[in-house]
């Protein structure tokens, strides 16, 4: 049994990282009932933007670029960590503006529009950064590996998992303990009443979408050193995010977190026995859970069912 421990640890960290990926996705689904298939592309976009920030990007060769590259890696890294998500959030806001004509129609249109947007963003990334795989550098202090119980673990993964815990708690506190969170949740619950109370719902949606997209960008930045960066990463990312939402139940915050841990564990433990099939386990999990519980673990009734 001892041989299973590293796989469980791996599965748990993977689960936390999945939760980080799904965080922005669940926020947008919960509040706006839009399945944002462009989530993965915004994730990738955020990571690429951060990569360009760290490596001076288009300024390389100019005096500014040379000065920039002289700065310590860590400071460039943290500026990238801030800038990538902000720009991804701006792209998300643009997407929300495009989504406006689809509100009030069947949820299919939102799904289709974001699918189109996903393709557009992916192709744009291919055009700007090229098709090859790129590596995201990591500052010295959080890279490397360590030994635990005779097994090698990557330090960065643990930092990333810790970061995921902090991010999950912060989003939860934001939703539960601030007046803005209350308005967002009220908007999800009864948008007409929120509008009647005088809140600008259009702006609220814009902000939520931007925030959700920024979370996607953060997740992209954090995950890029682990998974590598390639233009079609988006589709590899949006699928787990989306399985997690369905397994957890649409609109449930802790349902999504629980589902993410479950999916991570399933992937990690399958990896112990049949590494080639480890990604398959999440689909089996989806079919098993949704086959029996139509609304996932903790889901509530949603307009998306109509």
């Amino acid at each position: 049994m001892t041989s299973l421990v590293p796989h469980v640890v791996n599965g748990l960290t993977l689960g936390l990282l999945f939760a980080l990926i799904a965080l922005g996705f669940t926020l947008i689904v919960g509040v706006m009932e839009v399945i944002n298939l462009a989530h993965g592309s915004l994730f990738t976009l955020g990571a690429y933007l951060a990569l360009s920030t760290i490596g001076a990007g288009w300024f390389s060769g100019t005096p500014f670029g040379i000065w920039w590259l002289d700065l310590p890696m860590a400071s460039r890294y943290f500026i990238g960590l801030a800038l990538g998500p902000v720009l991804a959030g701006a792209a998300g806001m643009l997407l929300e503006l495009c989504l406006r004509p689809t509100y009030g129609k069947a949820p299919l249109y939102g799904l289709l529009l974001t699918f189109g947007a996903a393709i557009v963003v992916e192709e744009a990334i291919r055009l700007i950064w090229g098709t090859g795989e790129q590596n995201m550098p990591v500052p010295q202090m959080i890279s490397g590996a360590f030994l635990m119980g005779g097994l090698i673990f990557s330090t960065y993964k643990f930092y990333a998992a810790g970061f995921a815990i902090v991010a999950i708690l912060m989003v939860w506190l934001f939703l539960e303990r601030t007046p803005y969170g209350a308005i967002i949740k009220a908007g999800a619950h009864d948008s007409e009443m929120v509008r009647a109370l005088g809140y600008d719902l259009a702006r609220l949606r814009l902000i939520v979408f931007g925030f959700g997209s920024a979370l996607a960008g953060i997740a992209g930045m954090v995950m890029a050193p682990i998974w590598g960066l390639r233009p079609h990463l988006g589709i590899d990312v949006v699928i787990p995010a989306f399985l997690i939402i369905v397994i957890g139940g649409v609109g449930s915050f802790w349902g999504a977190v629980a589902a993410a841990l479950l999916v991570g564990m399933a992937t990690g433990i399958t990896g112990a026995y049949a590494p080639a099939w480890s990604l398959m386990s999440m689909y089996i999990l989806l079919i098993a859970i949704v086959g029996f519980r139509a609304r996932g673990l903790l889901g509530r009734r949603s307009a998306l069912e109509n």
Partner: protein, 339 residues
């Protein structure tokens, strides 16, 4: 916004003007394709995808069930054809039957899981199943050849009585595919304009009400999915012949999304002919835009996004609205005289 039901269904003969036009275009394509700057193989591809899109639209447009994993059944059909040629016998009809059968069985099993679901959960489960099939095709090396797929699938000769036609000839192969597509389209026309088609449309408009009227909604949804998968399987068998290989790429989520895009852009939500228009537009866009720029998919994606925003009823809806707008332009002018 207009819907499919606004374009009235006609019972009786499928030999309408659009059908005649469609068959005429399909039949004459080899004579003018090269003349307009396209190539023979494109005709084969378009005919196969029309077949696929037609079957898909039975589910998507008519029944209102949004499958985002439909590429899987095309792929299963392709593997079915290929495995039959390699493992059982080199036979044209046997291979195509195997393709249809494989996709139908897969569709029937998946449909049984899906048919209790509605709306977005239905769509999500189709993605889940689609990914399972895609992943299996990628990993089951001994059976499917993994990522490279099955190679060297033969194109058996077509034997009708004393005639033997070599389908390795591109023109002959085109006629063969076009013939099957034409038959399938006529068949589909009959299905959607029969009472079955009405029931499926009733389910799209209001599933609860259809159930209260007394239809066994589960069974009809299951049937629509299975028939749709069978069409995809046939298209897949032909696709394996065309490519002389079968590979998992067509089963990916990306490809499954592309078929949704094609059908929507063409106007599958509002018209029987929507999928045909959509497929033609997609392949012409691929070749024309693709000739101009590497990033043609970027432009096609942008067109798609704008289309969903301003005109979700697609090309067919646009044509329909324009055709309908033309007569009333005369009518208001006549009105004052009668008052």
């Amino acid at each position: 916004m207009i819907t499919l039901s606004d374009i009235p269904a006609r019972g009786g003969t499928p030999f309408t003007l659009p059908m005649a036009l469609f068959v005429a275009i399909l039949a004459t394509a080899p004579f003018w394709l090269q003349w307009v700057g396209l190539y023979q193989y494109l005709g084969v591809e378009i005919a196969i995808w029309i077949l696929f899109a037609m079957g898909f639209n039975l589910l998507f447009g008519y029944t209102g069930l949004h499958s985002f994993g439909h590429g899987a059944y095309l792929g299963i059909g392709a593997y079915g054809f290929g495995l039959f040629q390699h493992g059982v016998a080199v036979s044209l009809w046997g291979g195509l039957l195997a393709a249809i059968l494989a996709a139908t069985v897969a569709g029937a099993i998946v449909g049984a899981f899906l048919s209790h679901r509605r709306g977005i959960y239905y769509a999500l489960l189709t993605i889940g199943f689609g990914q399972v099939f895609w992943f299996t095709a990628m990993k089951l090396h001994w059976l499917t050849g993994g990522e490279d797929g099955l190679l060297n699938i033969p194109r058996p000769d077509l034997v009708i009585g004393p005639w033997r036609v070599n389908l390795n000839d591109n023109a002959a192969f085109y006629w063969f595919v076009a013939g099957i597509t034409a038959v399938a389209v006529v068949l589909m026309w009959r299905v959607v304009n029969a009472p079955v088609g009405r029931i499926l449309q009733a389910i799209r408009q209001n599933e609860t009400r259809a159930r209260f009227v007394g239809y066994d909604v589960w069974r009809w949804k299951w049937l629509a999915f299975t028939v749709s998968a069978a069409f995809a399987g046939l298209a897949g068998g032909l696709f394996a012949m065309a490519q002389q290989s079968a590979y998992p790429d067509v089963m990916s989520l990306h490809q499954s999304g592309v078929i949704v895009m094609m059908v929507l852009v063409g106007g599958g939500l509002v018209s029987f002919w929507g999928p045909v228009l959509g497929v033609i537009l997609y392949f012409i866009a691929r070749d024309v835009l693709g000739g101009l720029t590497e990033a043609w998919l970027l432009w096609y994606g942008l067109i798609f996004v704008v289309m969903v925003m301003v005109r979700p009823e697609g090309l067919a809806g646009l044509i329909h609205t324009m055709a309908r707008r033309a007569p009333p332009a005369v009518a208001p002018a006549a009105k004052p005289e009668t008052v």
